[in-house]
């Protein structure tokens, strides 16, 4: 097996540990992605999907286990030190862009991902030209509104911008946390097409969390189901192509019953 681009081993995170409200958000989680993998992630609310992504970017520090990115151990590395290699859209749509700053300022900040920032002018004519081209390719007309504040954009425009910000500096890893959740179906489809194109063009290793099973089956080359902080289903290639929504739902119920009966055993 070739070395993984991303490898999570035994990653464990318990919130409010030692209190009656302790939550095991991640429970000895193992997951490895090969370079170029586009993995969709599903799982019920509270399964630990967002916590997994936050642990990968460093916003959550695991108490056990290790996270390796392209061979380097990043488990305890600071957020800003690993940021050059990881692009992410957070589940909270306001976390990925800066509403009071302009489109071009947001993109200029993203273009410098992971680099030293000095006293050079941020938005140069050359950068503006490049941004116009990139924005024109999205087809939302944003190239004509470079100096508009991000707060004035629609939800779809904002998520498209967040996507461009996450991919502009060609990160090694792209993390998407339900980035279509707040969009209407038509806009969601457009932003998803854009996602797929950017992932392909950049040959980005990608983890995409979604609550939509259709999307999870349709996109990517591999599907992972999480439950109670662990991966409970991992399907790739031809097997993934053969998945159906009813099949996934059934599999999901089996998994939750299993853990439910485990709990019963524990409580008995």
């Amino acid at each position: 097996m070739s070395a993984a681009m991303l490898a999570l081993e035994g990653v464990t995170k318990t919130f409010m540990a030692g209190t009656p409200n302790a939550v095991a958000a991640l429970d000895r989680l193992d997951l490895a992605l090969a370079a170029g993998d586009f993995v969709t992630v599903i799982g019920s609310n509270g399964a630990g999907k967002s916590t997994m992504l936050r642990a990968i970017v460093g916003l959550v520090e695991p108490e056990q286990g290790s996270i390796r990115l392209d061979g380097a151990d990043i488990t305890h590395e600071k957020v800003h030190r690993r940021a050059g290699a990881i692009g992410r859209i957070a589940q909270d749509p306001h976390e990925s862009t800066c509403a009071v700053m302009s489109i071009e300022e947001n993109l200029a900040m993203a273009a410098k991902r992971g680099q030293r920032r000095g006293l050079a002018r941020a938005v140069t004519p050359a950068l503006r030209e490049r941004l116009r081209t990139e924005l024109a390719a999205i087809g939302l007309g944003l190239e004509a509104r470079l100096d508009a504040r991000v707060g004035t954009l629609s939800g779809g425009q904002r998520q498209a911008l967040a996507l461009l910000m996450a991919t502009l500096a060609r990160p090694k890893l792209l993390l998407l946390d339900e980035h279509l959740a707040s969009l209407d179906p038509k806009t969601a489809e457009a932003v998803m097409q854009l996602t797929d194109r950017l992932v392909r063009e950049g040959a980005l290793t990608t983890l995409m969390v979604t609550h939509n099973m259709h999307e999870a089956i349709r996109w990517g080359n591999r599907l992972v189901m999480m439950h109670a902080g662990r991966v409970v289903l991992d399907v790739a290639g031809a097997d993934k192509a053969g998945l159906t929504v009813p099949g996934l739902v059934e599999r999901f119920h089996e998994v939750s019953r299993e853990t439910l009966s485990d709990d019963r055993v524990l409580l008995a």
Partner: protein, 299 residues
């Protein structure tokens, strides 16, 4: 007529001296979104450092630069307490403000230093310009002109900085810290830079005011943050908060209007003891009016 002119002259003179304070408070209050009480210490620190250097014969430019550096150092102290010790930013400001009270007394050696016989940056500039053939007199108009030029230079530098890669990162730190960290920025560092610039500008106001008034006083900083915040909010109420240039102009105009309102309050019979109450009322009005307007007119 003469009275109006003297009100306006005094407003412009005092307003321009305080404008650097407005710029400093703009950074913390608007971009970092917290009231940085370090200002209450860094403003008199600027006055104290400049005054004590001037009375021992240090060159006025060097003394003023030292005052700015001291103010920046105070900002760095607040930033370090906040970021390294994980102490709330308002509390960090209060700690530094409190410590600076003693520092300022130690720097001056007493509660009040008179500069009446010491040279000032203004006298120096006037002397140079006159040597070049300008026939300037050392009066309010000259102070206004010199301060205005200095203010324009500082404003241009600040606006340019806020448009650099580092400047964008500093602005985003206050607006969306998680995002800018996720883009690779060490926000401990950007907070330090922002607070250093802010308090450096505030100390510059203190140093210039001391040279203009002819003394530095341990009590000169009391309520200064509220003054700065009121000015920033008054400016915003007029100009909106749309772009860097507007923000900067709004902060400066806000200070001028604030000074005008204070001058008018004194003219209509209020006493100097009433001024803090006037300031508080202005701050309240600047905060409440935009909200009421939204509620009445709708968005």
């Amino acid at each position: 007529m003469i009275q109006l002119q003297s009100i306006l002259t005094s407003m412009a003179e005092q307003g321009l001296l305080f404008a650097f304070l407005g710029l400093g408070v703009l950074i913390t209050f608007r971009f970092f979104r917290f009231p940085d009480l370090t200002a209450e210490g860094s403003y008199p620190l600027g006055g104290a450092v400049a005054a004590s250097l001037l009375v021992v014969g240090v060159d006025p430019f060097a003394a003023t630069a030292a005052a700015v550096a001291a103010g920046a150092g105070a900002g760095v102290a607040t930033a370090l307490i906040h970021t390294k010790l994980k102490i709330n930013n308002i509390i960090a400001g209060i700690i530094v403000m409190t410590a600076l009270y003693t520092v300022n007394l130690r720097v001056m050696g007493r509660a009040n230093v008179s500069l009446l016989t010491a040279p000032s940056i203004y006298e120096d500039i006037v002397r140079w310009l006159n040597a070049l053939g300008f026939g300037l007199r050392d009066g309010a108009m000259t102070t206004i002109a010199i301060t205005a030029v200095l203010l324009v230079l500082v404003s241009i530098a600040l606006a340019a900085f806020l448009r650099t890669d580092l400047g964008l990162a500093v602005r985003a730190t206050g607006e969306n810290e998680t995002m800018i960290r996720s883009l690779g920025v060490d926000t401990d560092r950007t907070k330090m830079i922002g607070l250093a610039i802010s308090n450096g500008a505030i100390a510059l106001s203190g140093a210039l005011v001391a040279q203009n008034h002819g003394f530095a006083d341990i009590g000169m900083g009391i309520g200064i943050l509220v003054t700065g915040a009121a000015a920033v909010l008054i400016g915003e109420a007029i100009f909106g908060d749309r772009s860097i240039a507007r923000w900067i102009v709004a902060a400066i105009v806000g200070v001028l209007i604030y000074r005008l309102l204070v001058a008018l309050a004194l003219r209509v019979g209020m006493q100097p003891v009433d001024l803090k109450f006037v300031t508080a009322a202005l701050l309240l009005a600047a905060l409440a009016v935009p909200r009421l307007r939204v509620r009445l007119v709708g968005r």
